[in-house]
Symmetry: D2
Subunit: 208 residues, 4 copies
């Protein structure tokens, strides 16, 4: 990864789903993620990447999952299994702590919050592509949760839409190391130009 | 229009932008719309279409424009003129009366509110296409504001996306009769299978 | 238009539907377009814009309509009126002269030909947005046929998708001056930052 | 899977990339796929699913990868790794045997061939969603190549777009059993309502 380079004016950080339900003690899915997230220091690395991006003057974008609201799925003819799970668990329930940003990741003025996504891709049925274009972004640094669903789908969509993508592998987590492997080793190298560490991102953005 | 037919289970009513700023006395754009809207009884006809749809058991969808929030456009590299106008006027300002639904058009339980659109098409950068598909909708009856911008763009997008569209010509309005003519006579007959009256919609949906 | 400025590296020329059926003597629709096209010297201006773009080093993109092939619409549940017309006329029939580029507009090496569009927008259901992104294009100069359908829909979509658009008003044509007015005066000023002449494009691109 | 049910009029078979380069002896990628494909009788099962669909009167859709042409990627600012691989190998080269359908999978009259996709999803930058909508399709049965790239991306996109998806697990293949597992066991159960065998599809469609 000696060649990790970003055109700063055209590069944005994309943070996916930093909700309490995912990454805070007491969150609905934290117990399933905790083991992997602690093994790779996922949260400190997400903070490092965020801090790096702010220092380097990159714009920060958030792709956040639909916060569950009553009535969301009852009238749908078909519901994808991943949505059925969110429905039954009321994941990221609107108006509850679980559906709030973990405190350190609350958006700051100037950050861009895309519309909530219904399934896994931050691009599908949202204004994320528009916001990236309107801000002149072509390269994305991606961090957040969880690796084999929302992160992977967002990266697959980003590549299809024409973006250059770098995934921060120690700033994501998953339910198991096997799932991490499926996302980070098997699949994402097809769609992301780089699968790197938070430290490598900092080196590329802050040292030059 | 003797052949106006809808498959009820696959037909939805799409109401576009029934905000106070557009269609209530005192709204920011009402004075510009009032003349045309009163000439064709736009608001009573919008209510008639809504009432018809509810009686016929059609699902109702809302395509609502982005409510203006500070910071919306300041950081964009490019802003389309229609967005520049919304920015300078603070049209549909979030948290104000102008950015609320006119009272008779407040969504009811079971209605579907698509994500807010940034420009003119209710489909662009929103979940409207997803919500229509998830509810099995293929045919759209379209009413609302204003004819040559949001209505026309939404209908153009609907046709491109594969929907069959009927526009209710006396349940829309515009800044001038010339603009109405551009939308309803010059352009929309290319994209909508029917350009009809609210009474014709009622006949087709309630009489059989 | 004293402020007409393009960032050359991020600007592309988009030519819409320069088919024989539209703009060559003997083409299926030429007789309907001829009067307006000759009044504003549409074809010489399209050539001027193309020549200007090549001299200025802009990349050239083509958004071409589906060439009619037997079976295209027979199995569709719904067909938009503008598609029904193309079907009955066999407009731009595949394998015929009418479905070929007018000779002066045949793509050159390095030009990008987007997939054919089924309705009016060069962006809908095609790879045009992808190709523009992959080539780093954010600003579009648009010329071609016809003003109130394909040109207008393509510009509406471009604005929704986040592009900055300039329309060349004397390098397009239509079935009547009224239709030209609907597109160029009533509607497109909402979505295009500039509605200019071929000479103004040349001034902006070649004089600096 | 006792509950595998399809509404026939709304169900389509989607075949992904049945090119000689993937699944014919002598194809550029066949040697890498062969081991998995022979272990699960992928090709006979693809044929079984196709035959079942035709007998049951389902419409057949094809999502085919861009056939390589010189100049495809040279001018792109960014090229995704999976595209870089296709570029260097000239996979599915236009005008060569490798870029043709394997003989048994050549489309028949009435079948629908979507525009070629540039990356992995059959939906991205193509008319596949439009063609499905125009034919009234809401449920997809998916078979073809290869599991962790094109099949998985197409299924992820289909779920995001609102389709109900069933994947035929013995009518797909991959470079290794580990890649098959990543797609069929780790990821796709989130997005597909069913991961079934060709025999189960036949039971559901032909026995009733």
């Amino acid at each position: 990864m000696a060649d990790l380079k970003f055109e700063r004016e055209m590069t944005g950080l994309l943070l996916i789903d930093p909700y309490n339900d995912f990454i805070s003690e007491g969150g609905k899915l934290w117990d399933r993620i905790k083991s992997v997230a602690e093994a790779n220091d996922c949260i400190p690395h997400m903070l490092e990447v965020l801090s790096t991006a702010r220092k380097a003057g990159l714009r920060v974008f958030y792709a956040m999952h639909r916060r569950y609201r009553p009535g969301d799925y009852e009238t749908w003819k078909y519901v994808a299994p991943v949505q059925r799970a969110a429905w039954s668990r009321k994941t990221f329930e609107f108006g509850t702590w679980g559906g709030e940003f973990r405190a350190e990741f609350v958006p700051q003025p100037g950050d861009i919050l895309a519309q909530e996504h219904w399934c896994s891709s931050g691009f599908a049925n949202t204004d994320l592509d528009l916001q990236l274009k309107r801000h002149g972004i072509r390269q994305l640094i991606v961090a957040g949760l969880i690796a084999h669903t929302c992160v992977e789908s967002t990266v697959r969509f980003a590549a299809e839409l024409g973006y250059d993508v770098t995934v921060v592998k120690d700033a994501t987590a998953d339910y198991s190391e096997q799932f991490m492997h499926a996302a980070l080793v098997t699949n994402l190298p097809n769609y992301a130009s780089g699968i790197v560490t938070a430290a490598e991102v900092a080196d590329a953005l802050l040292v030059s």
